[in-house]
């Protein structure tokens, strides 16, 4: 950390512009990601409530289904082997769909009826009513389970994605943006220093120039005096004015 942690960049006006646009980009990205995280969180809460509801309901429905199985067996006799042997085509099937929440795909399962009941004429002699009830119970259990499957996968996926998104949001907020800001501050201070240096240099040059000009003028002035009456001076004191002082 500290002031040392910044991007390796040469401090110049161009770099400053670049950093400024990067900072803007990072801030925009941060707010967008935050929005995404919020949207996911909202969905997540919704799913959470639904899962708990469905799970408890599922427990009850399964219990009831198991009970009706026992009832049917009591009425019909043991039909386990008949059922296990007569499996042919599935009547309840599942269709899947992909739902999209803030760019995250979630699977959605839905069960549907396909074809006719294979066990209609499966040679189960008695207890037709109990069997019909049993089928209905298990079918409703399946509907619940399928619903629960979508919720459960959505839950697991969302859980992961939310963690990743939050990590990104935090990284941008606490690492990337401060780093860019430090870089910007560094560039500005460096540029200021350069400016001061430049200013001082200009002053110095001005100074030197002034001195040089002064000298020149003095020389010129000296020359000008001599120029005015060059020959006279030459003639009069032959240039050995210094000796007089």
């Amino acid at each position: 950390m500290s002031g040392k942690d910044r991007l390796p960049i040469f401090p110049s006006r161009g770099a400053q512009m670049l950093m400024k646009s990067r900072l803007k980009g990072a801030q925009k990205g941060h707010s967008l990601l935050k929005k995404k995280a919020d949207a996911l969180q909202m969905r997540f809460r919704m799913i959470l409530g639904k899962i708990i509801e469905t799970k408890t309901l599922m427990g009850e429905v399964m219990k009831e289904a198991a009970f009706s199985l026992a009832e049917a067996k009591f009425a019909t006799g043991d039909f386990n082997q008949v059922v296990l042997q007569n499996v042919t085509k599935a009547q309840l099937k599942i269709r899947t769909k992909k739902d999209n929440v803030a760019g995250v795909t979630l699977p959605v399962f839905e069960c549907y009826q396909d074809g006719t009941d294979t066990y209609e004429l499966a040679g189960l002699a008695r207890g037709g009513q109990k069997l019909a009830e049993l089928k209905k119970n298990y079918q409703s259990a399946i509907k619940l389970l399928v619903e629960l499957a979508s919720l459960q996968t959505s839950f697991v996926t969302l859980d992961d994605v939310i963690k990743i998104t939050n990590r990104r949001v935090n990284a941008i907020e606490h690492v990337i943006i401060p780093r860019i800001e430090r870089t910007l501050a560094y560039i500005i201070s460096e540029l200021d220093e350069l400016e001061r240096e430049e200013f001082y240099r200009l002053k110095k040059i001005q100074d030197k120039k002034r001195i040089a000009r002064k000298k020149q003028e003095e020389e010129k002035a000296a020359l000008g005096i001599t120029e005015g009456g060059q020959y006279a001076a030459n003639l009069l004191d032959e240039g050995d004015e210094d000796i007089l002082f």
Binding site: I52, K63, F79, A90, T96, D99, F109, Y112, D159
Partner: protein, 137 residues
């Protein structure tokens, strides 16, 4: 808001014809078969009867067989069988097929022993306990 959006995007994205697979003890399987989820393709069936004495390897071999099949979208595992392969289930994160624990005839549903419920509570910390209680009551 959400309703209208999903209605809009139905129909075109559905892929149909997936099956539900089942691993568990006989009675539960018979019940679900009567509801009409069983399918036989050649010699292969989409359910596996595992008794109380089934070993972990046995159950795993069935599960693996179902996972590689592309027409299976959900694998239901009864509680006793799931308890034996807990290690695998905890690390299983795949989309398709989804593996779900279901209560069996002998073992009713108990939220405390459910892996997903544990994760729910994990995800929300202590605050979810209150949430859970308000919903389960």
């Amino acid at each position: 808001m959400e309703q209208s959006r999903s209605v809009h995007s139905i129909a075109e994205q559905y892929t149909e014809g997936h099956l539900i697979a089942l691993v568990g003890e006989e009675d539960t399987i018979v019940g679900f078969l009567l509801a009409g989820i069983g399918e036989r393709t050649g010699k292969e069936v989409n359910f596996a009867v595992v008794g109380h004495e089934a070993t972990e390897e046995e159950i795993m071999s069935h599960i693996e067989r179902f996972i590689v099949r592309e027409d299976i979208a959900i694998i239901l595992v009864t509680f006793e069988a799931a308890a034996k392969i807990k290690q695998f289930l905890v690390h299983y994160h795949s989309f398709l097929p989804v593996i779900m624990e279901i209560p069996s005839k002998y073992h009713g549903y108990n939220p405390d022993e459910d892996e997903i419920m544990a994760r729910l509570i994990n995800a929300f910390g202590s605050s979810s306990d209150e949430h859970l209680n308000t919903l389960t009551k």
